[in-house]
């Protein structure tokens, strides 16, 4: 390990970082995977999913939001944290209506693969079975709110990268929903395009292309190999 005044300890290993980097960024750069969903390397930080919660000098905090600090001790891959992350993913599953066995995103879905990663084998909590609106008005893209986890990735991508500001989150508490910036509230009445960044960043099957389904056979889907290698490769590609 190189000697540097800019290093911190992650699960017992010294990691270098560049000033200003978050714990997540420093870990990703070093090839260490910290589970996450709302974080995306191209987007401004959000810190809402809480999956990347780590313990920094004994205190809980989000790896995506906290700046790496020289000399601090970070715990991530501990049974305590993995156990709580499993509960967070289970919460996301019971809150929405997720149907992995026939979802087109299966195998390419970050929610699903993170669930495998944290050892989730059941939903555990009673499902909420909430009714959510499907928006099939757009020519190319389908917006299925059943599968939305309110991570705001599309909101941020559309605002900051596409400069279109097509999405927003509205409501409070468990009534929070993805809304569309158009008079009708429908995606078809916006200038959204499947080429937009916002169309590429959904970690689940909430925003998917209409003209294709199950494009990859089982075995060659993105996450048919273990997650950590993939996510890091994918994130690094974006950098």
């Amino acid at each position: 390990m190189q000697e540097s005044e800019f290093s911190f300890e992650l699960d017992g290993t010294d990691l270098p970082f560049e000033p200003g980097q978050s714990i997540m960024e420093a870990a990703t750069q070093a090839g260490v995977y910290i589970p996450h969903l709302c974080h995306h390397p191209d987007l401004r930080r959000n810190g809402s999913c809480k999956l990347c919660t780590v313990k920094v000098n004994g205190r809980f905090g989000s790896a995506c939001a906290l700046p790496a600090q020289a000399g601090c001790t970070v715990e991530s891959n501990t049974s305590e944290l993995q156990e709580m992350r499993r509960q967070i993913v289970q919460m996301l599953f019971v809150e929405g209506n997720h149907y992995c066995p026939f979802c087109e995103k299966s195998g390419n879905c970050q929610l699903q693969v993170v669930a495998y990663h944290v050892g989730m084998v059941d939903m555990h909590f009673p499902p909420f079975n909430t009714a959510r609106q499907l928006d099939a008005s757009h020519r190319e893209m389908l917006l299925d709110r059943d599968r939305c986890i309110q991570c705001a990735r599309c909101v941020r991508a559309s605002q900051d990268l596409d400069k279109k500001n097509i999405f927003g989150l509205a409501g409070r508490g468990m009534n929070i929903r993805l809304v569309v910036n158009s008079d009708s509230g429908l995606l078809g009445d916006t200038d959204f395009s499947s080429a937009d960044h916002a169309a590429q960043v959904c970690p689940t099957g909430a925003l998917i292309r209409k003209d294709q389904a199950y494009p990859c056979p089982i075995g060659s889907r993105l996450y048919d190999t273990p997650i950590s290698q993939h996510t890091i490769r994918q994130d690094a590609r974006h950098d």
Partner: protein, 602 residues
């Protein structure tokens, strides 16, 4: 259908300078004027302010007191804190619904009346309380509810109703150094100007004043960090979003000591170099708005506010922003989001408010009581302040005492005073438990009543709710958990979903339908929510449950079903609809609900 008065809407937009930062204020104005903010108006506002429609939708859907549909001429909110419940608010609600022929949470068919519950309105010492069109009514009995309904049904405007119905009393029960102090407007300011801002800050530091909202951060440090932070403009914010259930001491201060509070804000402006301050007044206290505006006007006339204060080269003024019903807005970064015209969602931290607050600029945000105290320190000196309290908690604290006590109201005690002392003073008998600091605080039982109220022991923002032995503490916990589930902003997963899981679990436990395994599991999920939530709301939302589980476990165990598992729904009951529709009721097709029954049949 209601025709919207766009002339009035334009007037409201103009009054706020068509400033997108004032979106929440504009929508509050429209809600009051038109009784709701329907889709056409939201579109209109979005275009008039060049704000994304999604933001307008978001704000309307976020705040309790804004509605996407027209609610009508009379909008009634019945306070539903546990204390209001103990005072009989459910009878009041039932009477109102009956007499008004209305359904809770839905506009009445004629579009004239809307009635629903809301969280604590800060009137637990005078409950049951309700708000009608933002005006507070206290001591509402079912008989009074009948009279109210008669006047509403007759379409009588609120101004013609008996004025004593709207009487909010402010009479402190025990006055300490703060409530007994004679505050002379301008004297503290004069003193601080004479000694200079740096010296005055040292005086605040010497007094050891800590934030009175409950967190206890040292005021002088906050001010110094903000003063020294680089930024174009500095701001001062007074947090009057007193939302913690059972707290009403800021209501009392806003009523009788607003002058001192504004002077405290002005002093903060002097220290950190700010020219602009905001008072964020919770929507439930809208009835105090006009008298606060009058106090500001008087202070301007007395050269205590505005340009060249007391003839010096020092400008400072205060603007009042209203809240619209959101407990989470009491969190300072969420409050700032609301001031900027957005949903009150707490920001990720760091950076902190002191360096990156309103519009990303250095900002001081303190509680009403804190500002009153900074003004009194300027007037009376740090030595006066240090006359009481403990080493780590100097000074006194205002407590809002309510519940099973003979004399509810405001009590001011030095820090370090025991819970027992307060209980004796307020005439509490047969006390089973005291909730200190509201639902997000601590629930203690008699063997802890010698504990002290101070930052190093029982920290509190001021709420002090007393429950005697006749109360079912599990329904208290249930009320608190419902409160958090309703108030979660929905931003982060553990709080958004975790509080809902807690709600479902406590309902099942109280109904006697949960087993030991479920209790254990929900304790597990509660700890996850506590550890992983984004802000203090989620981190403390599980406290009522975890505290009482720790101290009153037998009460939980007595409610548990002896079964390992009880389903979340009653299958037999669910089938009853089908039976009714098909007009068939086969006795052999009734499904047993309990494990014993299943076993017996097998």
């Amino acid at each position: 259908m209601h025709a919207m008065n766009y002339q009035r809407i334009n007037q409201i937009l103009d009054d706020h300078g068509r400033n997108p930062l004032r979106l929440v204020q504009i929508l509050i104005g429209i809600q009051a004027e038109c009784g709701g903010i329907p889709a056409s108006v939201r579109d209109y506002i979005s275009k008039a302010l060049a704000v994304p429609l999604a933001q307008v939708h978001g704000v309307v859907a976020f705040y309790h007191f804004l509605s996407p549909e027209i609610q009508g001429q009379y909008r009634i909110y019945v306070a539903d804190n546990i204390i209001d419940r103990m005072h009989g608010n459910q009878e009041v609600m039932a009477t109102l619904l009956q007499e008004l022929q209305a359904e809770r949470g839905k506009p009445r068919a004629d579009g004239q009346v809307f009635i629903d519950y809301t969280s604590c309105t800060g009137l637990c010492d005078q409950g049951p309380a309700l708000l009608i069109n933002s005006r507070a009514l206290t001591h509402v009995t079912p008989d009074r509810a009948k009279e109210i309904a008669e006047r509403i049904n007759a379409g009588e405007p609120l101004n013609n109703w008996p004025s004593h119905w709207f009487q909010v009393e402010e009479s402190p029960r025990v006055a300490g150094p703060v409530l007994a102090s004679q505050f002379e407007p301008g004297r503290g300011l004069q003193a601080a100007l004479e000694m200079g801002p740096a010296q005055y800050l040292k005086e605040v530091e010497r007094a050891g004043l800590r934030g009175r909202g409950g967190a206890g951060f040292r005021t002088a440090i906050k001010w110094r960090v903000s003063r020294d932070a680089p930024g174009k403009t500095h701001y001062v914010i007074c947090n009057a979003d007193e939302g913690e259930p059972g707290t009403f001491k800021d209501r009392a201060l806003l009523t009788r000591d607003a002058d001192a509070m504004f002077e405290g804000m002005t002093l903060a402006g002097l220290v950190i170099g700010a020219e602009k301050g905001f008072l964020y007044l919770r929507g439930e206290y809208t009835y105090l708005y006009s008298q606060l505006v009058a106090t500001l006007a008087r202070r301007r006339a007395e050269h205590l506010l505005g340009k060249n204060i007391l003839g010096r080269e020092f400008n400072f003024d205060v603007e009042i922003h209203l809240g619209a019903g959101a407990y989470v807005a009491g969190e300072e970064s969420a409050l700032i989001e609301s001031l900027e015209g957005k949903c009150a969602v707490p920001r990720p931290r760091p950076p902190f408010t002191a360096t990156h607050g309103y519009l990303g600029q250095p900002t001081v945000c303190n509680n009403v009581e804190t500002f009153v105290k900074t003004a009194l320190i300027a007037q009376n000196g740090a030595d006066w302040f240090l006359e009481c309290g403990t080493r780590y908690s100097p000074g006194s604290k205002l407590l809002s005492v309510s519940g099973d006590v003979a004399r509810p109201g405001i009590y001011e005690y030095p820090f370090g005073t025991s819970v027992q002392t307060v209980l004796e003073a307020c005439g509490a008998r047969e006390t089973q438990a005291v909730q200190i600091g509201g639902p997000s605080g601590t629930c203690i039982t008699p063997n802890e009543f010698d504990r002290a109220i101070c930052y190093e022991d029982l920290s509190t923002g001021g709420s002090f709710m007393v429950f005697n032995r006749s109360r079912d503490m599990l329904s208290v916990v249930q009320n608190f958990i419902h409160f958090f589930a309703d108030e979660s902003c929905g931003f982060c997963t553990p709080c958004r979903v975790g509080t809902q899981l807690m709600r479902r679990a406590i309902d099942k436990i109280v109904a006697g339908k949960a087993g030991a395994r479920e209790l254990k599991e929900i304790e597990h999920a509660a700890k996850c929510t506590r550890a992983m939530s984004h802000c203090g709301l989620g981190q403390t939302a599980t406290k009522p449950f975890l505290d009482t589980l720790d101290r009153l476990r037998p009460q939980y165990e007595a409610r548990l079903s002896n079964l390992d598992f009880v389903p979340n729904f009653d299958l037999d009951q669910s089938l009853s609809k089908t039976r009714a529709l098909s007009q068939r009721d086969d006795p052999h097709a009734h499904l047993p609900q309990t494990g014993e029954a299943c076993d017996a049949r097998i």
